[in-house]
């Protein structure tokens, strides 16, 4: 445990000295808030919680990049090999990725709340406990997924490309940019298989309807399942050496990460409460005019 903590502190320090990391984890999400609330929201105070939920989700999904990418750099530069001859093991190294990423994400979340409240005059704060739990689980889930990508890719470029593809899919069909109910039916049918969709919808319910944890069972289950399975798989796939290429078997293993979502997506498709909640949330905050603006 002390190894994990020492690594966490060290990696946070390194992340704070990295301008690119600061840009993507702090500046960019806040810029998104201004674009969403300032331009899409068009001064409609009622729309702010809805839009904030989207920005929070987007920030949390950024964990996907976060410190998992730092791990690829460490491996490719031969830095991890030096750690390998110390008693700090693979699990400490992986856990420190998740924890440091979490601590680096929280301040951004808090700043976004403050800006929504003081700059965009959001009236309520939603159910803060639910928001906190969803943000925590979401950050860990997406960072774990990032660890899997870090393990199955062999170079930094490869990591960036795969991350970008997955990130765009998450961004555009989960409801984090385009409101879920506006998406075509077929896209919605696919989106219920993505962890990102549960994160976005869960955050919107917590922000708009003050939904408590008790009513967010399936959302929490999806994120916990994702975090657990992704972490176990990433531990299985972890590599210290740049030379040891990811075996094909590893890429198959990575596919296991989607199993919980297939199950959940199937369950969701059968029972279908996510879609109706998403529609209700959207209707509750949008006057026809701003809905039009959103769809345009």
């Amino acid at each position: 445990m002390s190894h994990t903590w020492a690594l966490t502190v060290s990696r946070m320090r390194l992340a704070m000295r990295n301008r690119a990391f600061l840009f993507f984890s702090l500046i960019m999400p806040i810029a998104f808030l201004f674009i969403y609330a300032g331009i899409f929201g068009g001064g409609n105070r009622q729309a702010v919680p809805y839009l904030l939920a989207e920005v929070l989700a987007l920030t949390v999904m950024g964990s996907f990049w976060g410190l998992s990418v730092q791990l690829v750099t460490f491996r490719e530069q031969g830095i991890l090999r030096r750690f390998r001859i110390t008693p700090a093991g693979a699990s400490a190294m992986l856990a420190s990725s998740l924890i440091s990423n979490y601590f680096m994400t929280l301040p951004t979340i808090v700043i976004e709340f403050f800006l929504a409240r003081w700059v965009f005059h959001m009236s309520g704060l939603g159910n803060l406990t639910s928001v906190f739990v969803l943000v925590t689980l979401g950050t860990i889930s997406f960072a774990s997924l990032g660890l899997i990508v870090a393990s199955v890719t062999n170079t930094m470029q490869e990591t960036q490309i795969i991350n970008q593809i997955i990130w765009f899919v998450f961004l555009f069909i989960s409801g984090a940019t385009i409101p879920f109910p506006i998406l075509p039916n077929i896209v919605q049918a696919v989106a219920v298989y993505l962890p990102a969709t549960y994160l976005v919808s869960g955050l919107q319910r917590a922000m708009i309807d003050n939904t408590g944890l008790a009513s967010l069972g399936s959302y929490l289950a999806s994120l916990i399942g994702c975090a657990l399975i992704a972490f176990l798989i990433s531990a299985q796939l972890f590599r210290w050496d740049p030379e040891a290429k990811a075996p094909r078997r590893a890429k198959l293993w990575a596919l296991f990460a989607i199993i919980p979502f297939l199950l959940l997506g199937a369950w969701e498709t059968a029972n279908g409460s996510l879609r109706s909640h998403a529609m209700k949330d959207l209707q509750s905050i949008t006057q026809p005019a701003s809905l039009e603006r959103l769809t345009r």
């Binding site: 002390s2 190894h3 020492a6 690594l7 060290s10 320090r13 390194l14 000295r17 990295n18 750099t73 460490f74 530069q77 031969g78 830095i79 090999r81 030096r82 390998r84 001859i85 110390t86 008693p87 700090a88 093991g89 210290w240 050496d241």
Partner: protein, 307 residues
């Protein structure tokens, strides 16, 4: 002196695809000994060391360090070893002091960062980023990190490769101090000077085999390599006479110098002096060049070390 083997390597083999990196390497290193693996690049030195460090697994054969198996024993093994890898890399934006603090924090028994900074001449650089250090400073930091847990066994893989001669000598000084502390050290090198100066015993490695093993002195004595005696005299001599002197295998002239190649240097010199006295000739200068490990390598492999 009776000493127990701290490092044991038995019949190690390792293959990377079509390349046979190790073809049955065996040696053992005693407590407090500085043992060198000398050989050209690609001889299998780094593979051997990395198997001992637990970074690689051998295909066949057995290794033990302090009685522990690097692959099977966990933290216990890592507590007793320290290592400077062939290229120790750290994050560019990590500060010197932070690196020593972080790596030190992994061990229950550790040396303090201030002590290490002082000893390795890094005090002034303690707040510098890793990327700002010179090659020599990076190497000193790598050595300091290898000692952060005060290990019993230290692995140094090419500790002076790529450094200029002055910095290299600085590193030699550090390794000699470790030797005084009775650390068991395994170092790899392709510098003859380094092996001769630092190592108690040397294994010459080529193409994945140990082709000679012993103290630098034993290696030279055992080998057929001959010593060259360069002589200058006040009057020229007939070659024929000098080449019949005891121990001389060959005699050549080079400008005013006579080059005598001898297998038994002391006897050759005595015979030479007698011979000159008899002829009323005088010795102007005499120089003895002992065979170096380089000559021995050349003799064993037919190649120079840095070919």
């Amino acid at each position: 002196m009776l000493s127990t083997a701290v490092i044991e390597v038995e019949n190690l083999t390792k293959r990377y695809g079509d390349v046979e990196a190790l073809r049955g390497v065996s040696f053992s290193v005693s407590e407090g000994e500085v043992f060198g693996l000398l050989g050209p690049n690609g001889a299998g030195k780094t593979t051997t060391v990395e198997i001992l460090e637990g970074l690689r697994t051998p295909d066949h054969g057995r290794v033990s360090v302090c009685g522990l198996d690097p692959q099977r024993s966990g933290a216990e093994f890592k507590y007793v070893i320290g290592a400077a890898l062939q290229s120790t890399a750290l994050p560019d934006k990590m500060r010197v002091r932070e690196a020593l603090d972080l790596f030190g924090s992994f061990y229950p028994r550790r040396r303090g960062t201030p002590e290490l900074l002082k000893r390795f001449g890094l005090e002034e650089k303690r707040h510098a980023f890793y990327a700002q250090l010179s090659g020599g400073q990076k190497q000193r930091l790598a050595l300091a990190m290898a000692l952060v847990n005060d290990p019993r066994v230290v692995f140094l893989d090419e500790p002076t490769a790529g450094l200029d001669p002055q910095v290299r000598r600085e590193i030699y000084g550090i390794i000699e101090e470790l030797k005084k502390e009775k650390k068991t050290i395994l170092l790899t090198t392709h510098y003859i000077e380094e092996a001769e100066r630092l190592c108690d015993r040397v294994a010459i490695v080529d193409h994945g085999n140990v082709i000679a093993l012993g103290t630098p002195r034993e290696l030279k004595e055992r080998s057929g390599a001959v010593t060259r005696i360069t002589v200058r005299m006040s009057r020229p001599e007939t070659n024929g006479a000098l080449s019949t002197l005891e121990g001389v295998t060959e005699c050549r002239t080079e400008a005013d110098d006579y080059l005598l190649y001898s297998t038994r240097v002391p006897r050759t010199i005595v015979a030479l002096v007698k011979h000159l006295e008899e002829r009323n000739n005088e010795l102007v200068s005499l120089e003895i060049s002992a065979p170096s490990l380089e000559d021995i390598f050349l003799e064993l492999t037919g190649r120079r070390l840095r070919d």
